[in-house]
Symmetry: C2
Subunit: 258 residues, 2 copies
């Protein structure tokens, strides 16, 4: 925890935009117990993964500022928000924790790879800060985040006191239920998206166009140690995640072959 | 290899767009020995990571088609290209290998997380196909890809004959030299981007805006088993990469704490 401050200092972003219910619930829950800097996109950036913006300038404006809580809206991606905070807005202050979320929608299993919420936690970790992503398995803009309240505070303090090894973060997903059975530390389930692009016909030209949709199919339904299993059984799924993506188990065999 | 075809069948995309020199060099080198479907973005998508498009329709048009080589240009991201190919364009045909590249620019170390070229290989792997990403450490649109020619063919055939375990791919980076010292199988170096957003002043309003720039600093300069070391020493860097990002080493300790 920052030595000059009695409260922890949090850097928060998301991919649903600074006006989304999820991030505002997060700030409401944490602002009594933490100093907070929000740097979040100025609109929806779902599915932005770790996208960065270097082909156009990024703009940023201060939405509000009071003691212990400052909010910026940024024209860039979730990762841009964290990079901009580190480069320009933190002014040397070191966050005790970087938080992405609370996302409206599931970021478990392979969905972590597409998630802008996980982009926030990825960038936080790559910048060397303990980082955590929170997601609720409910895409509705009016999703009910109230059941998450005690878990958010508890996990925030635990993540700070435990610390995280370099290049790692916690990916936390909450099932859409009113009462959780508890917390499960679990691995990322292997799954696969199918039937993803449906075709429509342009009413003017007759040319086809495509909408991303589809369904996520589990590749290991029987496994009971995965985030998908935890969520399906009403547990909060906490997946320790690494950004050193080296497949260490393959180094020796590929060295012999290549 | 596809049983019904004597040549391997390759699905190719990139993040520099279908007109870039890198992907056209790749196709030129491989089309004599493989059947190829190119589904690539219709313009630059560098830094798109694993971004997916679901807030607007995606369009796709056939640029050219002859025996053994068909090229589509797609309005979406690199990952969209692979998803669209699998959903709509492959028509059940199974690629022997998905290839991203050849990228104009380095995708080693943590840059893999931001790379649209790695987005191609990530999505290929998540769809269950052996996948490989090729990048040359030269951002120039006129980069010289000629030294890569024999390595591309060799690595393509090896990747197919070896196969890849589920959720893994090869991230291959070539240094900008006329002659490589050989191939090193290596791990992803830990590094950090600093000084990333420089500030400019809008000449009309005086408001600040920001450009992404910065420098990538190694966090482990002495290590000799990393992709950054291999590239700095004129070796082709081959990093086996996994998309199961569970930090397995942390599961037990976090289970005790949370």
């Amino acid at each position: 925890m920052n030595k000059r401050h009695s409260k922890p200092f949090l850097l928060i972003s998301n991919d649903d935009g600074y006006q989304a219910k999820g991030i505002n619930f997060l700030v409401e829950v944490l602002s009594p117990v933490a100093d907070i800097l929000v740097v979040a996109p100025d609109g929806p950036r779902s599915g932005n993964a770790c996208k960065i913006t270097f082909d156009e300038p990024v703009r940023c404006r201060c939405i509000s500022s009071r003691r212990g809580l400052t909010v910026y809206a940024c024209s860039g991606t979730p990762v841009d928000c964290i990079k901009l905070a580190v480069s320009r807005l933190l002014k040397g202050r070191v966050p005790d924790l970087v938080i992405g979320g609370i996302n409206h929608g599931d970021n478990a299993s392979i969905n972590a790879h597409y998630s802008g919420t996980m982009g926030v936690a990825t960038e936080g970790a790559l910048q060397g800060f303990p980082s955590i992503a929170f997601s609720l398995c409910d895409h509705s803009p009016e999703a009910d985040f109230e059941p998450l309240r005690p878990y958010i505070v508890d996990l925030m303090f635990k993540a700070i006191s435990i610390g995280m090894p370099p290049m790692t973060c916690l990916n936390v997903n909450f099932p859409k239920v009113s009462k959780f059975k508890g917390v499960k530390v679990c691995r990322m389930a292997h799954s696969r998206w199918t039937n993803e692009f449906c075709q429509r016909k342009d009413p003017r030209t007759g040319a086809p166009y495509y909408w991303l949709t589809g369904e996520c199919v589990s590749l290991e339904e029987d496994a009971q140690d995965t985030d998908q299993w935890a969520l399906a059984n009403d547990f909060v799924a906490v997946t320790p995640t690494t950004f050193d993506c080296t497949a260490y188990g393959l180094l020796e065999s590929f060295t012999k072959i290549l």
